[in-house]
Amino acid sequence: MFRIVLSRRSFSVLKQIKGKVSSNPIKIDTDMQNKLERLSLISFQNETTIRKVEQTIHSSDIIHQVNVDHLQPLYTLAETELCPLRQTDTISTEKTLQTKQVLANATKTYEDYLVAPMIGKRDSQTVEKVDQTAL
């Protein structure tokens, strides 16, 4: 087991950065909490969870200190690859699953349909009442 010993110089740089970051910590208010819950489909049960999330954000904020203005993000390891094309527009029966396979992992099905709880119609994830005064 090696103990990684930071040199004096890099240690002081780290201290400086940490100093900058701790000056404005992020606070999660109710709006932000609702937004995060909707985006992740995870509910924040209590205050402790929210504090933990705030702490995580705080310690990962250090990443913004890196200057990436001159860099492109690396989103694939195969950088020189071109998008391959499936040359023939034919239907493959081998790759198509049978209906019973499609339904195999579902807890609830109904007449070959997959069943999901009704969360409202598309495009209305926040449905508001019709504002009569504005009509």
């Binding site: 937004k35 998008c83 209906t99 349909y113 999901a116 009704m118």
Partner: protein, 530 residues
């Protein structure tokens, strides 16, 4: 009516409207965009699903070349600049009909952008004169060609189908549709009225069908349109506020929704209320738009480049390694495309200039009869009969089938060969002009385009009576039945001839030639009264 209100608002000069569209086009390919299952509609539930369509772990997307080629055809038809390098992205949101939790699209890096599309403004002929009052129809006497800029065209895929069961509080999901190829066309807000909007969409539909990008069917299945509408006071700059209207399933819905929005926004502006940026949905029963969500509540889609799909490269003749057949060559596609509907119509004007005027062409276009006209002309192959055919199309056929859908039904029953036969027989005077409406209705109802014209004429005895003697006998019979007319002939010849004419036509409906019978009656009566 919202339509007249909107037209009045726009022509008053106090306001102007900016309208843009986001159009999703379902591509006419056999298989889906990123997987090899069938893209055909209306299949048995969940029978056209691959592991990728279900987002099973380990499945990867594989781009279908046919979808890319269809997209390039759309871009060429809309005169777009094609970006030779484009990227696919993930648009994240949760919904049961999207098992992966994201849609693969090209939001920030589309493969085509900055296009221009020309379309004819379709105005009803009898309303042309009235609409000179409205600013947005420049010249009532000719084909007005308008243009609309295209902001971008991108490739993306469709989601599954969800059926909401309110009684059991559940949603039923069918994944057959998930992954079928779509092309999204986003326009700049160059459209200025609902009329322009409908004309634009109809011409776009014509182009997409001609270039084999989507299937011929009502707007319902092939195109889905979202409209962005904003009304502004004249002499003010647009302030970026706009209202998005969704759930527009047909051309008529688009027209009514835009008119309603213009009317609603005018009321707000006149009463000095600000126009909220919002998303609204169209209620097809009440012909109104209804609030759905505020723009500020927009979902954060967290776009990121799709890591499973490398950058998309398109080539043209200038590129060196174009000999590789497995890449798509833009110039090759350009060469293989037929001419645009606009150019094709210009060609007709030239080819049939003896009898086809711009007004005729406009009317054929408005009634969606251009294809049928073209087929009939090919069958006739003789300009001299062309003007008869045109006249019949624009009168009798128009009364029988007055919109695109009815015309297609008509064309199935009365094939262009059958129609051409009718015209040839009319010219030879085997049938009368008068009988055409009845004859065409019969053929249309019969729904059998393989039956010969002769069989129809035999069955219903519609041959014109050309034999002079026979005709004279019939005329004499009419005269016997109407002795009073003979007496009246001395005083009022014109009226008597008219009455006798209508009398004989009612009796032998459609078998009498107008001109023959008039001359005959005149001759007989002159003889009698001498």
């Amino acid at each position: 009516m919202a339509a007249t209100a909107a037209a009045a608002i726009l022509s008053s000069g106090r306001f102007y409207a900016l309208i843009g569209f986001e159009i999703h086009v379902k591509l006419a390919t056999n298989s889906k965009m990123f997987s090899a299952s069938s893209a055909a509609p209306a299949q048995t539930t969940n029978s056209q699903v691959t592991p990728f369509d279900m987002a099973l772990p380990g499945s990867l997307p594989y781009l279908n070349r046919a979808c890319l080629e269809a997209g390039v055809r759309a871009a060429v038809g809309l005169n777009c600049q094609i970006n030779k390098i484009s990227h696919f992205e993930r648009k994240h949101y949760f919904y049961p009909d999207s098992p992966s939790g994201y849609q693969i699209t090209q939001q920030r890096y589309p493969f085509a952008s900055d296009g221009l599309f020309h379309y004819p403004l379709l105005v009803k002929r009898d309303k042309l004169k009235a609409s000179t009052k409205h600013k947005f129809v420049d010249n009532p006497n000719s084909f007005v060609i308008k243009q609309c800029r295209i902001e971008r065209i991108q490739l993306e895929h469709d989601t599954g189908r969800s059926i909401h069961d309110e009684y059991q509080n559940r949603t039923l999901i069918d994944l057959n549709r998930f992954g079928t190829g779509l092309v999204e066309i986003v326009t700049r807000p160059d459209i200025q009225s609902s009329l322009e909007g409908e004309s634009f969409l109809r011409e776009l539909n014509r182009l997409l069908i001609k270039y084999n990008i989507c299937e011929q069917s009502g707007l319902e299945t092939a195109l889905r349109v979202d409209a962005n509408v904003s009304l502004h006071r004249k002499d003010t700059m647009p302030d970026g506020s706009r209202v998005e209207v969704k759930n527009l399933g047909s051309f008529i819905d688009v027209r009514q929704a835009i008119d309603f929005e213009i009317k609603r926004q005018e009321q707000l502006l006149t009463n000095n209320y600000p126009i909220q940026k919002e998303t609204r949905t169209y209620d097809t029963n009440k012909h109104q738009t209804v609030h759905l969500r505020r723009k500020e509540d927009q979902i954060d889609y967290r776009f990121m480049i799709e890591p499973n799909l490398p950058p998309l490269f398109l080539y043209d003749d200038n590129d060196k390694n174009i000999n590789r057949k497995d890449f798509v060559n833009i110039d090759h596609i350009k060469r293989s495309l037929p001419m645009s509907p606009l150019d094709e119509r210009k060609q007709y004007l030239d080819k049939y200039k003896d009898f086809l005027t711009v007004e005729h062409l406009h009317e054929l276009l408005r009634l969606d009869m251009i294809d049928y006209f073209r087929d009939v002309m090919i069958q006739l192959d003789n300009n001299h009969l062309g003007h008869i055919a045109l006249e019949v199309l624009l009168s009798d056929v128009k009364s029988i089938s007055y919109d695109g859908r009815k015309i297609r039904k008509f064309a199935q029953a009365v094939s262009s060969t059958l129609f051409a036969d009718i015209i040839k027989n009319l010219e030879k005077r085997i049938i009368t002009r008068f009988s055409l409406y009845t004859l065409l209705t019969l053929c249309n109802k019969n729904r059998d385009s393989t039956r010969t014209l002769k069989s129809f004429l035999d069955e219903h005895n519609m041959y014109a009576i050309n034999d002079e003697n026979e005709l004279e006998k019939l005329c004499l019979k009419i005269l016997e039945e109407n002795p009073k007319q003979i007496d009246r002939y001395k005083t009022n010849p014109k009226k008597v001839l008219e009455q006798l004419h209508s009398n004989i036509c009612k009796k032998h409906h459609g078998r009498i030639h107008d001109d023959l019978v008039n001359d005959l009656f005149k001759r007989l009566l002159d003889k009698r009264t001498k």
